[in-house]
């Protein structure tokens, strides 16, 4: 019974999307919820739940590095960053799928096989994120986490290659803002990757505080690690803000 309801809901969503209207700017109520509008709301929510919690995650990471706080408080602060970071991770995993579907509505059509890939990418990536985050000690979780950097690098390269090819064929001539958003997404993936690598000593330091307690060298390691990742974290926020502006203004 539940499966039928889910299937019906998915079918309705597809029908909505099939009947998606072109981008309209109306001040009047139209009495209609189009597929395009539903996906657009999802797109906005992904932006909201990416950038918003990321601010909190950063603030908590500064607490974890604060030597004036007790070791338990610092460890708890580290746990808070881990807990909050699930929001941005989930949002990143779904953005290409939701964004890809949205591009259809602004006139960038995809062959069926590409569309299948775009639609499947979100659920697959999301599953990887959830397994890696919630089941890190299982074989699969461990494998996902060990290959996460490679996967991010692959995704950034794939997005850049796809944009370059589409640009060269003139497919994005009418929507340069989509090009900008995709390039920024790839940049964000790379910034995230560098930030993650630079935060490795920070994570190791937290484990050391948990097992052996704080020490001068551990505190220095944490502070330095956070400082070296900071430009990339801020870079992600700036890139996200620019991408949002491109999405709102849609400059041609």
């Amino acid at each position: 019974m539940n499966k039928r309801i889910i299937a019906l809901a998915l079918l309705s969503l597809c029908m909505w999307f099939t009947g998606a209207q072109a981008l309209t700017l109306s001040a009047e109520s139209d009495g209609v919820i189009s597929g395009y509008e539903v996906v657009l709301v999802l797109h906005q929510l992904l932006f909201v739940f990416w950038l918003g919690p990321d601010l909190g995650r950063y603030i908590w990471s500064t607490r974890a590095a604060n030597t004036e706080l007790s070791p338990t408080t610092r460890i708890t602060a580290g746990q808070m960053t881990r807990k909050i970071e699930l929001f941005p991770k989930v949002c990143i995993s779904l953005l290409l799928t939701v964004g890809g579907i949205l591009t259809e509505a602004v006139g960038i059509t995809h062959p069926w096989w590409q569309m299948v890939g775009i639609v499947l990418l979100g659920p697959v990536w999301l599953s990887m994120v959830l397994i890696g985050h919630l089941r890190p000690k299982t074989n699969l979780g461990d494998l996902i986490n060990r290959t996460d950097n490679l996967f991010r690098l692959f995704m950034a390269a794939a997005v850049l290659a796809s944009v370059t090819y589409s640009w060269s064929t003139g497919r994005l001539d009418n929507t340069p803002w989509v090009t900008g958003k995709l390039v920024l997404f790839a940049a964000i993936m790379l910034f995230g990757l560098v930030a993650k690598l630079r935060l490795r000593p920070f994570d190791n330091a937290l484990v050391q505080i948990e097992t052996m307690g704080p020490s001068k060298s551990v505190d220095t390691m944490m502070t330095k690690s956070l400082a070296s990742a900071r430009p990339y974290i801020f870079g992600i926020w700036i890139a996200l803000a620019i991408a949002a502006w491109l999405g709102v203004a849609q400059p041609v």
Binding site: S70, F87, A244, V248
Partner: protein
């Protein structure tokens, strides 16, 4: 309608406001929830609560910013009849409202800070009821908003309601301060932990109602189906 540069500007700020409100509030919620964990030492729990209140300054600011930003967008869309003087007054009120709210939140541990916060609660109630009234009277053709923009009237009314749910959060969370005060002096006891847990569980209802309403407002604004 034409997408002017000023419309794009206000719309962009409106979306960023949404990010700083509900998005940032996730960290507030999780930090506050963790502060109720009785297995943690007191200094850790008070840091969690303090950080929740500090991060909450971001959503608090955005919640107030929604008023003037919404007015600017409504005026840009031709759905609100308002003079330049009226716009200036809305901005002035919003800045004062924000300043009172921030003062109360930053100095929550001082007696005078609590008095400022208490006064701010009356303002929140006034804004909430005032906006609901503005939406209903506009729907009847007597308010400041165009009756044809029904989606906007829903937005205005629901934003008014959000102010009331936010006020409910403040009221529901009020026993948490004294409970933590007792934790500091008496240590963890089943009675105090019961108050802490109960206070948080009661506050969850208006908290989730606020999230639901804000997301609903975004949905209505994007789809304009009402």
């Amino acid at each position: 309608m034409e997408m002017t540069e000023s419309f794009i500007f206000w719309k962009y700020l409106h979306i960023l406001m949404f990010v700083g409100w509900v998005g940032a509030d996730m960290s507030v919620f999780l930090s506050a929830k963790r502060s109720t964990d009785a297995s943690l030492p007191f200094d850790t729990r008070i840091t969690l609560l303090h950080m929740a209140l500090r991060i909450e300054l971001i959503p608090r600011t955005m919640w107030k910013a929604a008023l003037p930003l919404g007015v600017m967008l409504s005026a840009e869309m031709g759905l609100l009849k308002i003079s330049d003087f009226g716009i200036a007054m809305v901005w002035l009120f919003s800045i004062i409202w924000w300043a009172i709210s921030m003062t109360g939140a930053i100095y929550y541990d001082k007696e005078w800070g609590r008095k400022v916060a208490h006064f701010g609660n009356f303002l929140i109630f006034g804004v909430g009821v005032g906006l609901i009234w503005a939406a209903i009277s506009s729907a009847m053709g007597n308010g400041p908003f165009e009756a044809s923009g029904t989606w906007l009237l829903w937005k205005v009314g629901l934003y008014g309601l959000v102010n009331l749910t936010c006020l409910a959060i403040v009221v529901a969370y009020d026993p948490m301060g004294p409970a933590f005060g007792r934790l500091a002096v008496e240590g963890s006891t089943p009675e105090i932990e019961g108050i802490v847990k109960r206070t948080f569980n009661i506050a969850i209802l208006p908290i989730w109602s606020t999230y639901f309403l804000v997301v609903s407002i975004a949905f209505i604004a994007t789809t304009k189906f009402l």
